[in-house]
Homo-oligomer: 171 residues x 2
C-alpha cells in the first residue's frame, strides 16, 4: 500500500487526538505504528491506553517535560536530535507502516529541529509509509509537500471559560 | 468531574478519528465510554481495535450500512430512532462518563433525527457526562450550545488525487 503524508495543524483541539485515533485504527487493521512525541514527557492517559497495543504501537518521547516556551536549552536540543536520529533509523528499517511525528510543527517553529530535517524526512520516507505530522503552525513548505492537510480551527474552547486540562479528556 | 459538550465539525479529515482518540485517552484514565455511530454499519478497523477495550468502551451502530445520501428510508429512520432511544437510556443510567455521538450532525442535516432531539439530549445530559458530537455541517444552535467547537477544515485532501479510502487509514 502506498503511503501518504498527512498534516494536522491549526489552533483547535483535536490534532494529537486525531493522530491517536489514527494509530488505533491502523492497529485495528494489523499495521505497525511508531509514534514520536517531540514535546511531551510523562504518563499521559494515552500512554496507559496504548499499553494494550504494545504488540503493534510503539510510542517514544523526546521531550524533557520541562520545555514549554521560550528558547530551548541544550538538553532540550539534544533530546530532539536523538529523536530525529531515532525516527530516521525507524524509517530506514521500514517495519512500521504508520509513523506519527507529534508536535513536529511546533518543534520546527521553536527551533528544536530544523525545517530542513523535517522536510528531508518527508522526502526520503519509504514509499509504503504513511507519515503523519501534527502541531499548530505548520510552515508553508510542509503544507506544500503534504498530500493531506487539515486545519483544526478553534471556533470556541472551554479553556476560555477557565476549564483546565482534565485527566482522560486532555491528558 | 464536570462534563462539557465538544463538537467536531467541518469538511476535513479528522473528526471521527479525533473522537476515536478521545475514547482511547478516556479509557486510559479508566473512564467508561459509549460510542453511538449514526451512519456506519460494519466491521471497520476501529471496531476491531476497540475490542481490546471492551471492558471500558461500548460501541453501537444505528446505521443500516446502505444509506449514503438522498432521502432516508423508513428503515433508516427506524434505526436512527432506536439509536436515539438507546442514547437517552444510556444517559439516564449514567454509567458512562464520555458519550460520543458520531455523525450526529449529519444525521440531523439529512433528517434521520430532528435537531430538537439532539438539542434535548445536550440540554438534559447528566452534568458529569462529557458529550462529544461529530459530523460536518453542525447547525448554529449546536455550535451555540456547545462548550468547545473545532472546525476540521480541509486545506488539501488526497481524495482529490484519486486516492481511495484505505483499510487501517480511513476505514
Amino acid at each position: 500500500m502506498k503511503g501518504y503524508v498527512q498534516v494536522y495543524t491549526g489552533n483547535g483541539k483535536g490534532k494529537t487526538t486525531a493522530a491517536l485515533g489514527l494509530s488505533i485504527r491502523a492497529a485495528g487493521a494489523g499495521l505497525n505504528v511508531f509514534i514520536a512525541q517531540f514535546l511531551k514527557m510523562g504518563d499521559y492517559s494515552e500512554i496507559t491506553a496504548l499499553k494494550r497495543f504494545s504488540d503493534l504501537i510503539t510510542i517514544e518521547q523526546y521531550g524533557l517535560g520541562k520545555f514549554i516556551k521560550g528558547k530551548p536549552s541544550d538538553e532540550d536540543m539534544d533530546a530532539a536530535q536523538k529523536g530525529l536520529k531515532r525516527i530516521k533509523d525507524i524509517l530506514s528499517v521500514n517495519e512500521h507502516q504508520v509513523v506519527i511525528l507529534e508536535e513536529a510543527n511546533v518543534a520546527v517553529s521553536c527551533g528544536l529541529i530544523q525545517k530542513d530535517d523535517l522536510l528531508n524526512i518527508i522526502k526520503t520516507k519509504p514509499e509504503n509509509v504513511e507519515l503523519v505530522i501534527t502541531g499548530r503552525g505548520a510552515i508553508s513548505e510542509i503544507i506544500e509537500i503534504a498530500d493531506l492537510v487539515t486545519e483544526m480551527k478553534e471556533i470556541k474552547h472551554y479553556y476560555q471559560k477557565g476549564v483546565r486540562a482534565r485527566v482522560g479528556i486532555e491528558k
